[in-house]
Symmetry: C2
Subunit: 588 residues, 2 copies
Amino acid sequence: MKKIFFFVLALCSLYAGAQQADRFPLHQFDELIDTKPHDDATVWEQLKQTACFSWGSTDVRYRKLDVPDISRKSSLRLKGWRGERVNAQAVLWTKADLGKVRIEVSDLTNGKHRIPASAVKAGFVRYVMTDELNKDGQGGCGHRPNKADWDSSLVADMIDINLELPVKARTTQPVWMNVWIPSDSQPGIYRGKLSVSGEKLAKQSLVFEIKVSNRVLPAPADWKMYVDLWQNPYAVARYYQVPLWSKEHFDAMRPIMRMLADAGQRTITASIMHKPWAGQTQDHYDSMIFRMKQLDGTWKFDYTVFDKWVDFMMNEVGIDDLISCYTMVPWDLKFDYYDQATNRVLFVEAKPVDRAYADYWGTFLKDFARHLKAKGWFEKTAISMDERPLKDMQEAIKVVKAADPGFKIMLAGNYHAEIQSDLYYLCIPYGQVFPQEVKAERERKGQISTYYTCCTEAFPNVFTFSSPAEAAWTAIHAVAGGYDGYLRWSTMSWPLDPLRDSRFRTWAAGDTYCLYPGPRSSIRFERLVEGLQCCEKILLLREELTRRKATRALDKLNRLVGNFMPGNSTAKTAAAVVNELNDYVNSL
Amino acid sequence: MKKIFFFVLALCSLYAGAQQADRFPLHQFDELIDTKPHDDATVWEQLKQTACFSWGSTDVRYRKLDVPDISRKSSLRLKGWRGERVNAQAVLWTKADLGKVRIEVSDLTNGKHRIPASAVKAGFVRYVMTDELNKDGQGGCGHRPNKADWDSSLVADMIDINLELPVKARTTQPVWMNVWIPSDSQPGIYRGKLSVSGEKLAKQSLVFEIKVSNRVLPAPADWKMYVDLWQNPYAVARYYQVPLWSKEHFDAMRPIMRMLADAGQRTITASIMHKPWAGQTQDHYDSMIFRMKQLDGTWKFDYTVFDKWVDFMMNEVGIDDLISCYTMVPWDLKFDYYDQATNRVLFVEAKPVDRAYADYWGTFLKDFARHLKAKGWFEKTAISMDERPLKDMQEAIKVVKAADPGFKIMLAGNYHAEIQSDLYYLCIPYGQVFPQEVKAERERKGQISTYYTCCTEAFPNVFTFSSPAEAAWTAIHAVAGGYDGYLRWSTMSWPLDPLRDSRFRTWAAGDTYCLYPGPRSSIRFERLVEGLQCCEKILLLREELTRRKATRALDKLNRLVGNFMPGNSTAKTAAAVVNELNDYVNSL
């Protein structure tokens, strides 16, 4: 009726701006350009051979535009337990354009025994843009609004799933190989071949052997290490451009989440409110639970999304140890609900000491407990928090216990003697320790005590520019420090263009993910799994050596594990101590 | 866990910023200061008497700081039908401060017959800030972002409910009086007294008489005129600072909505989507219906708010003719729903020709029809629209009919021959006419055909600066133009500070309301009711005169009514033609 009007301020849709199909590539894509100084044509032309292929080291991120510093090796000896995944890296470098190149892996043979080529994953290592630590060298926390303020460069990190890749003149193209030794393999030495060939490249092959021990590494689901690598379903929906919680969304998530399951993942990351971390990631988490404040003031809860997510993780992915529900104490104490009266998502603003807080959470938790019990999940659920002021956490714990004293509670935060006994699962930062008697008491009570790293650490970390061995080091530190496991807050909180650019508006590059869309693994993820496997091996060997009273071997093992404590290693020595430990473990 | 984070972009709450209790006064308040030139002390000191009290005219907005141009009158003769409300205005002006002043009204007596004082409402007329027509004198549409661009001044408009008011030196203070003659009064001449007295004012009284006709004006609910004055429950909730749809909200709305019922109001304004008018008013309308798009893609609807509002209007207020549901064709074609997957209110963006539009509306309308039938309201409900491109309206009508061919449809917009027959209720703009045969056909079919004014008209209008008689003129035009009634899109879409400042960010001041918080009436509203009463009287007299074959009187009546057509009156002559008609009607 009015001729003049105001436009509705449209609420941003989750997929706003995600219109171009090639904005979020899943298949072929071009890497960004590295503008750093690199070996020029003169250097490259000194190569005697047009294209070289050699075994390299898994400790090195080979530079894309430099001739690699490698003593050429055409054969490689690896060792592994049955059931273990073993990594190797080969490098192809060329002065001429090779056209499209393909990788080929043979079956591994040991007389009449065989490890089929299907147990081997080999992929091109791809280059993503990274940045650097904070200018003071102290970790990677803080805002990075202006990318130009940070020294950026391309680094080798992602392990591609594309079978073919164009390899241009004067480039280095690494190839990552991972052999998952079947648990039922016959011990012995297996020999195989890794080859590359291309449109302009005659086939070149490298041989390798794996000495398979008679020891067996249990399946990841049976690992002792408590692994907690947070999932972000919201990032997957955005990058894959599929509706949240649709069949397509679950189809996209299934292989990603199975990669975590294969790394021994125990927990399901569930968000029980809007923006539990204040929207710090590119794709914020939202509430998996629908709360309606009805006209009569009563609350109505709906668990459809939560149930679907948990069911999927438990029954399709096989991660079923704990549903970790974030959070009752977010940074910004605002709690969402759909308000029937106003037809909006509104927020209760309340501190944990407030009556409104206890009303909001208490009412919900009672209903949540009822629902979880009906689903048979109550014992597998923790109400989880991040570090907040002690008083707030204490008040939140009171509210949880008042709703149902049986609720498990989890904290990823500083060690607080005042509340530790209330925490079924307590994960403290790198560098903090559990008092010995507390740890023992927690073990007796079946409580979980782990540690985490995040942007804080310059070393050890899994930024895209971190030394590859640091990922393994990080895992092994859990055993060295006497923790039950390791937590990382991000594995797939992708920045906008994760395949090409690992930098983000906050924190050093790569902090928010180590799995790539596709899904694709990374040097960091493979080395983390290597470290986690090493932990299991150490724990098993300790038992065995203790049982066998092999004191000397046990002492040596523990001495080498002792390198994995703060102060005993640096980014520079990480590879050496990991290799030394690996070698010793594999020698036993 | 992260030390650095982003603040949640908080969604604005309905009550954001409305923290100060005195921001939205309901009782005493101070008027704004009029900075226009006005009579100075010299002029005021010429008054022989310190304080004067006289009958004035209901056609005049007396200026607050000027000595009124009045021939002093201490008695007044009024006429009215039984059941009619009769207005008068008195004026008090003073050179000295009078302290707090009170109004007193006596019973009206006619020998042993009596109209009790309780049938008389007398209140101080208060001054609000107004602006002016557009600079070209053509109506009051358009944005007015900068108040300084418009000539603003205080005008007498609101009729206060406060019993006491301080009256300062050198001010004019009008008093409005309204006598609702009881329907069962004995015809005859009743005499009463209107008095003022104050802390520094000895009582002064004015006498008046009302000649009560033996004719009876029916109760508003039985009026023939189809009155449609839109309600805005959202504005009431904000101004009264009460939660939407709470008991306090309904308590606040009850007396306001009853003022509309007493003006013959027929329709309940219901909003069936978020911002049916793109949030053009200070307090936007929201959806009274909850729509959830469930995870499985199906829709769920909840009518709790809608039902509560309609129940209230029907059963507590007595407005029960039609539930007018806006809108399927808003200016901005975005349709809200709560999305279970993303925990947000999202929008379907779709044009009426789109499949998504038919899905959204078709699914809803089928369920809505089912619900309305269950409530016994289906026959009383219209799916209502404002003027949109013809093609869009045609498509929308198709969707409505496909959902349920029995749905009534309403349009407030231009006359379109192509769709008029589909429209149970069609309200066209001032100046447009229904072709005679169409109007006759619509009457036969029981269809409603009315007209509206909005910001477009310089005359007639009910801006706060409009001549008071224009409100009556507007109503009478409905009868003159052969319409079934009158629609106004706003009666309580209050700007931020409606008691003091009637200006708004769009349109000439006062366009958005004629009822004030309190609730308080206004010169405009009382004169509109006067006009509506006059309509009823004309319709009854036409019948009677026709029946009595009193051709001469009927001709004169129709000639005087003929003044109420475009071109036959101006703002300057409106008072004269209204008075002439009133006088003649009351003489019959």
